[in-house]
């Protein structure tokens, strides 16, 4: 499977360096290594969800407990989480660090991913969610750190879009 193990390891190290101790996740192809790394790490709590919106509640609970968390999901999972984001994270000022695999963008071969790819950034903008891209190994850790810092200081959801350039080796 040409999902980049090297990039996944760097992203995972970036999360660890931010003192993330809980990760919620729903499997998707680009996230397989990240989920496995989380599962194999005894210092990390992995919460495997049935639907991504649950992760908003799980992360809010972790925040109340004083534990830093991250959410791993596909952009369609982000779309499925919107009510939780709006009527919990935004309403109650809950920091969320969302790592979203940006499927359906340039280079996508799976027709079923393409519509979600079209609307991901417009929806993030409509919701007023700050976002940037993880698109190169050299900057990935720094951007994770910056996103985590902003989500904590602004007490709001912040998104990192995991791009094909970083996650897929062709």
């Amino acid at each position: 499977m040409p999902v980049s193990l090297t990039s996944s390891k760097v992203i995972y190290e970036g999360l660890k360096e931010c003192d993330i101790r809980l990760v919620s996740a729903l499997p998707e192809t680009w996230l397989v290594h990240l989920i496995r790394l989380t599962d194999e790490d005894p210092e990390m709590i992995l919460v495997r969800l049935a639907k991504e919106e649950e992760g908003v509640g799980v992360s809010a609970g972790a925040h109340f407990a004083g534990v830093k968390s991250a959410m791993l999901m596909q952009n369609h999972g982000f779309l499925a989480s919107i009510n939780g984001i709006v009527s919990f994270a935004h309403l109650y000022k809950i920091p969320l660090l969302m790592l979203i695999s940006y499927r359906g963008s340039f280079g996508e071969r799976d027709p079923w991913q393409t519509q979600g790819g079209n609307v991901t950034e417009p929806v993030l903008r409509a919701l007023g969610i700050p976002y940037t891209f993880l698109d190169a190994l050299e900057t990935a850790k720094k951007r994770i750190r910056q996103a985590q810092t902003l989500s904590e200081s602004s007490m709001q959801p912040v998104a990192l879009l995991l791009t094909r350039d970083l996650m897929w080796e062709e």
Binding site: I45, L49, K51, E54, V56, G57, A65, N83, L91, Y92
Partner: protein, 190 residues
């Protein structure tokens, strides 16, 4: 059985727990008995109270967490039941007030009024201890056993579709949220 009587019967036991409620009548009735800093009322985001309790319970395994859910909210997040059961934190108590109705928005019937069995769904999801209670006495006993027990428990409390006259209180959402977190941080330092 009235939900308010149920809440009153266990109110003193809640002092040692972290309490998360859903929106509407449950939040308003618990608050009417007296707000405490260890109570968090999720006044929207239906379905996510149980997920929030799960996150709290997994992060604070020494702390008892109790969620007051409802039939309408649980039906919106049935997948969350399977997630709770998957991790089955020993310190989580999940109470579902089932009034077979979406009381806070006009009293329209939910599917539990036409045969959907939340007790059976919780069991089938894998929740290790599930019970259904019909009287305040059995409710009190079930909740006390769960709080002092050591196993994820879901309690379905069949209550009348009656609630308070008003749902809005003078506690702002953000005040509640910051107070709740500060309370938990003070417990961790103690």
């Amino acid at each position: 059985m009235l939900r308010l009587d149920c809440l009153r019967s266990i109110y003193s036991e809640l002092e040692s727990c972290l309490v998360i409620t859903i929106m509407g009548a449950v939040a308003a009735e618990l608050q009417s008995l007296g707000h405490r800093p260890n109570f968090f009322y999720l006044q929207h985001a239906m379905g996510l109270a149980s997920s929030t309790g799960l996150g709290l319970a997994l992060c604070l395994p020494e702390q008892k967490v109790i969620v007051f859910d409802g039939d309408g909210s649980l039906l919106m997040n049935l997948g969350g039941l399977s997630t709770m059961a998957r991790y089955r934190p020993k310190n989580l108590v999940h109470v579902v007030f089932d009034n077979e109705s979406l009381l806070s928005v006009g009293g329209f019937p939910t599917a539990t009024g036409t045969g959907t069995d939340l007790d059976g769904m919780a069991r089938s999801a894998g929740v290790p201890r599930v019970s259904t209670v019909q009287s305040v006495e059995s409710f009190t006993a079930a909740v006390n056993n769960a709080i002092h027990g050591n196993e994820l428990t879901t309690i379905i409390a069949k209550v009348e579709a009656k609630g308070p006259s008003a749902f809005v209180t003078d506690l702002s959402l953000l005040e509640n949220r910051f107070q709740f977190r500060r309370h938990i941080q003070s417990l961790r330092r103690a």
